[in-house]
């Protein structure tokens, strides 16, 4: 199993969630984060002073999927989250050694 972790622009959440559902991803976990990368931050003003906020709001969407689902999952994110603009985000894929469903104690792919 793999953890597919997509860092996306916040307003893409609904599109990504729908795309993932279409390819059969049953559950996701979403975290609000701040991201720093190639995308420039924005300027804010404070009584005539100016400062740059370069940590931009992003969302991390995490989905644990079976190995054969990884590609479809990645494609679904690419399709739904890309505007072809700097800052569209990244996908990280990490191997997972086990998944357990708390409710039932089921393990492995059954737990997804």
């Amino acid at each position: 199993m793999k953890l597919v972790e997509a860092i996306i622009k916040p307003f893409k959440l609904d599109a990504v969630r729908e795309a993932l559902a279409e390819v059969g991803v049953q559950g996701i976990t979403v975290t609000e984060v701040k991201g720093y990368g190639r995308q420039k931050g924005h300027t804010e003003l404070y009584r005539g002073a100016e400062y740059v906020v370069d940590l931009l709001p992003k969302l991390v969407v995490e989905a644990v999927v079976s190995d054969d689902q990884v590609d479809r999952t990645v494609q679904a994110v690419l399709r739904s989250a890309s505007d072809s603009k700097i800052g569209d985000g990244k996908i990280f894929v990490t191997p997972i050694s086990d998944v357990i469903r708390i409710r039932t104690g089921e393990r492995g792919e059954d737990a997804l």
Partner: protein, 492 residues
Amino acid sequence: MILSRIADQTAADRSTSRDRPTRSSAEQRSRSLHRGARAAQLTYLLFLLSLAFAEPARAQGEPTLDSGDTAWLLTSSALVLMMTLPGLALFYGGLVRAKNVLSVLMQCMISAGAVGVLWILLGYSLAFSEQGELIGGMLGDLSAVGLSSIGPEDLRSGTAVPEYVFAMFQGMFAIITPALMAGAFAERMRFGAYLGFISSWLLLVYVPLAHMVWGGGWIASSLGALDFAGGLVVHMSSGFSALAAAILLGKRHGYRHDPMPPHSLPLTVVGAGMLWVGWFGFNGGSALGANSDAGLAFLTTQTAAATAVIGWALIEVLHTGKATVLGAATAAVAGLVAITPACAFVSPLGAIAIGAGASGVCYFAVTVLKPLWGYDDSLDVFGVHGMGGVWGALATGLFITEAALPEGVGWGAQIAKQVLSIGFVAVYSIAISVGILLALRVLLGSLRVESEDEQRGLDLSLHSENAYTLQPAGTMVGHAPAAAPREHSGAA
């Protein structure tokens, strides 16, 4: 004439208010005659003496300031500003998404600023100066431009308060009315377009209506429609204009697909509370003195608001199973809107009827009419102020007491007058507002921010600010930059 005026003035101070738009000098006279009759019971000598004592006052030839009336009107003026800042700002600010809250607060602030200045320079004179009318029955004149012709000691005619205080009281109405509209096109209008819109609107819609209804113009004097504290002038005018603006500007990105819940209902409830409290100044102050009319207006205002809260909650429980907090806040405002034109003309039980009706009418407008017609009136300005205003203006006729009916006008006739005034204000407001907005669209290119700016939020796009910064992070660039800040400086 002068004699009767004086007698009237000295005898009592209350006449000032109830029907301030329609109070005719004839009526004035009839009242004082009555009091004169009483005096006639005395002997001749005493009559002479009374004359003698009345002399000093008559010599002065003018009514005197009543400190109690003045105190109440000063207080009311402060309360009405509180309705806008912070009341309405909070009410609207809580209802929008967190990325747009500052843009809404700014719209309220800038109304206080721009209208505040325009009112002194031009607005007050055009609405309320009575020397001669510019356009028959539609506008006052330019004799009080900059208020230069008025001194601190001058009293507003027909009242016992300084004209300056009257001008401020009316000025606070002029500030809140354009700001009310901001809710309809919230979360998408450019800042410059807003400023242009409310400034023009003030002079072309608000000022004429205020004159027509309260400044001696034709709605009150010729048509004879009643509007004690602003159902037509404030709520209908802003509600219908706001509807036009919302439609002209188009829907928000994602409207009716994405939920756009209030980002902070506590702010909204606080705002509703302040509106409620401030409304006592709005309606009670419209008596222009601390008199029995003010008392009646206060009582009906409170009662209608309370009834609307209960009525709305009941409807919600029947309709959706739950009474909501936003419902209660909305209901309070709806009740307050509806009682505004009627507040000194109906009985306490009449106020209950009007409040209950308001909850029904506005709930229907907001939950049935809006989705049916499909316009995006972001915060339901039309549903609450427009439709609530219509209901209130109509209900003023429906529930008016015998005593409040103008001399010689029947109940049915008064209702007809109210209906006519409703029609006129609706058409006038929409027509002029559409005109202003189309002109501004040509002038500015667009009334709306760019789509990307809308998604990023107006706070950052228009004002380069963030409402909430719980974890500061970033880099100082410099104090007092000489140039415009980078990125997106064009949207304002």
